[in-house]
Amino acid sequence: MMRKRLYNIGAILQGLGITFKFMFRRQPTVPYPSVMKQHAPRFHGLHELRRYADGKERCIGCELCSSACPANAITVIGAENAPEDRRSPGERYAARYEIDELRCIFCGLCEEACPTDAIVLTPRFEMSDYRRGSFIYSKDRLLVPPEAGVGTPPDERPNGIPADLGRVAEVKSTVDIAAGYSATNRGEVLKTHRRGLAG
């Protein structure tokens, strides 16, 4: 009995030792708003609609993404391109394109389904807002402005096949990871550089 009790005092001292040691451990916490952690290269975040190098929209309004979407988050209404004002190289373009980011589960199936690689998921994830309506992203916020660049279109990849699957995300969207969207391994570099949409 007595020995058991004394043993317990030992346990208390051991516990005190552990907490003392932990006081000097490095904390894994990343103080988020001031320091950004780097995402995996293929992180599924906010969508964007890309353009070709000549400024034309990639989307041809085929609604494949909409039908592929398991969450029914995408609404596409296509329209014929007028000959004098061609929005996309194909016959049709998306007159309206809306994604409800509250419904979206960020699965990336829309990206898989798209025949022209128009819709892609970027690593951006800060889209909180106070009103539900503002989570419905329409073309004005999804479509990249012409000066934002084009990423790497599939037709410029060797054989049209992504050579390095692990790096696809780095080139698929217009977000320039190297330029500092995100950060080095423990996130010491601030998010100084934001390009593209959804600011």
Binding site: I12, G15, L16, I18, T19, F20, F22, M23, F24, R25, Q27, P28, T29, P31
Partner: protein, 334 residues
Amino acid sequence: MDAVMNAAPLWVVILVKSAVLLLVVVTTFAYAMLFERKILAWMQLRPGPNRVGPWGLLQPAADAAKLILKEDLTPKTADPLIYRLAPFISLLTAFSVYAIIPFGASADGSAWAIGNVNAGILFVMAIASLGIYGISLGGWASGSKFPLLGSVRSTAQMISYELSMSLSFVGVLILAGTTSLDGIVNAQQRWWFLLPQFVGFVIYVITAVAETNRTPFDLVEAETELVGGFHTEYSGLRFGLFFIAEYVNMLTVACIATLLFLGGWNAPFGLGMVPGIVWFIAKVACFMFFYIWLRGTLPRFRYDRLMAFGWKVLLPIATLNLIATAVWVAYWGK
């Protein structure tokens, strides 16, 4: 400075001293709280409060502002008069101990304190025993179940542990041969009472944690079972007052430990060039750290274990320690 002090009438001196001390204690409370949150956070691999001001140093101000701005609720079933009175009883008793705690001594040996009472340590005990009223009245007056349970627990706990605490004091009193606090400190110039009264010190540390209702003895406010214990119904500033009282009590207990067992403002190892007040503060800070360290380490006691521990382990050990000390002093001491 001394000339001014001698010229002014006694009550002015006491008033000024009290005001200064109050300010110091409240500031210490604020930073003790921040200190605790930081240390706990580090022990749990968190950064702790770091948003308000550099390293979170302005956090106490933010907390105070929040508490002041919050709504002051009084439940319908509460007893309004006593419900409002209770936090002030807690606060009053917590602060009035500082009337007699000496923090250092001038070269001529007079202690730095507002008042120097011959029965110093007894006075501290008397005031501390009144401190329970704040908790138990507050819990009763809230008119709901959890606070009542919390306050009943606290009453039983504090009464039980007060006994062992007093007994651990008496060992020191026998060695020092006086009950005045600066007398006790002066008696420790050669040896801290930590050495001859080690058992007493351990008992004091345990009972002190219990008296201030801190983990692992925080059954009074056990949030997992009693929501918030005696202060469940309190909000805003009244809750803040209880909060201040708890931390000020912690500080008191640390001061008493320093005065009684850790040699007060006496420097260890003949390091006399550092002023005594620095030693005093350093010792109090160490004790406070130990307190927080305990909180970061130990889980809460079960209630029956708490009582059994107090009455069946601490009290007998404290009594034996007292008898041993008395016998030692009577036959070999002095």
